[in-house]
Symmetry: none
Subunit: 258 residues, 2 copies
């Protein structure tokens, strides 16, 4: 398998330098770095782009500028166009997730890939889309489909990163303490139960077994680790003995006062 | 099955009105409408928010402002916190996709749900996250993890919309007792905390905040329903007062015996 090279991002006739900078920022967020600009309205470079990139300078520093979209896509095997509108073109229409899977497959096969985005106002023309191998439609609410350019790039870049890295969802970070075993949990429940007995909690007595089961279920669901079991035993002791100690002291003082 | 009501978006201490407006815009893109602001830095309303919303005015027009995060989450059963950093809290950590699936399931069961985002500079504090039932980590490149606030909201909102569109409404088993909302959980924690204070549990005192957060995380993970919260309050009372009552009775008897 070839090395996986991420898609380059092509902006066709972008208008605002701030948006180009925001695009660079989200590219960096999701591990993309190659940016191509076709006829940026205000020319290139534009200082405001670097300002809004918030430090993600490298996509801007290395951005290539083209006068024609055909030139920008010339070295690509697979280019997908993002668009909100339906077209008459008979191209496959994909969600960002489906597109990311297809792009990943192509990149793994050593192909050069790209995602194409239209300008802020008009989006892509049909003739631009005709240069592409597929259409990506972001599932936005038809009631409000004015999607910011950088947001569109962010969603596609996020799906790319999720597809490729297949980022294993991070699990519990706090694993210094191992999960408590059943013996330890039994100790906790016995402790709790005997203190609740002393406090007259189980009433009426015939309901005790189901009350105990319900309490156990709460802590079972929580997936306690050893440290947490120790903490909860401390809680039980503080609640039952701590208050008792205070009251004992009071009682002793009362006696002494006599 | 209940009607699916999308999550509300809670911004904790947002700084820039422009970003609040951009958040409203992406909310509208993906069918979300309920926005809550906790201590917006520059006050509220701010005209610049409406400017950057590009016409998505309704989340801004109806935004509610809170002074305390506790109040903003009080009527919610499920709140997920988005954060880039790992925490010591033992809460489930999810990708945006996993979170969306869980939120969808909860909403289908009629629960009130929310996604919480921190401010631009500092993100969320551990004590804010301790109010939540889970943590959402966006899989950004560790080499450049400065993710714009509106982008973070966009990704979560996009995953929400995708989850709702994709997944056949899950058949969710109703619990006999509805899940407790945050106000009810707050009552439980306040009760526990004050009794633990009385019992001298928090030692040394400077460790109290993190001890409280860790205890909250245990019960947050357990997904308590209303009946269970009532049971646990009975447990706390039985442990703290019950034992006290027994000791008081003993002390009284001793006095009488004299």
């Amino acid at each position: 398998m070839s090395e996986i090279i991420p898609p380059c991002v092509i902006l066709n006739e972008p208008q605002l330098a701030e948006n180009i900078g925001s695009v660079a920022r989200v590219m960096a967020n999701f591990g993309l770095s190659e940016l191509r600009l076709v006829r940026p309205r205000d020319g290139w470079p534009q200082e405001r782009a670097w300002v809004s990139a918030s430090g993600a300078n490298w996509p801007l520093d290395n951005a290539k500028v083209y006068q024609r979209l055909e030139a920008a896509v010339a070295d690509r095997q697979i280019v997908f166009a993002t668009t909100a509108r339906n077209r008459e073109l008979r191209l496959p229409v994909m969600t960002p997730r489906e597109a990311a899977a297809k792009l990943h497959e192509a990149a793994a096969a050593g192909q050069n890939i790209a995602i194409l985005f239209g300008g802020e106002r008009a989006g892509l023309e049909t003739q631009d889309i005709a240069l592409c191998q597929g259409v990506v439609t972001i599932p936005i609410d038809p009631k409000f489909h004015s999607l910011n350019l950088a947001q569109a790039v962010a969603l596609c870049a996020y799906e790319w990163r999720t597809a490729v890295a297949d980022v294993a969802p991070p699990r519990f970070k706090y694993m210094e303490s191992p999960l408590a075993d059943q013996a330890m949990l039994d100790g906790l429940f016995d402790h709790l139960e005997s203190e609740l007995d002393a406090g007259g909690f189980f009433h009426p007595p015939e309901k005790k077994p189901s009350m105990v089961d319900n309490l156990r279920a709460i802590f079972a669901r929580a997936g306690l680790n050893e440290q947490e079991v120790r903490t909860l035993r401390g809680v039980i002791t503080a609640l039952s003995k701590g208050r008792g100690r205070v009251l004992e002291k009071l009682a002793r003082k009362r006696e002494e006062a006599k």
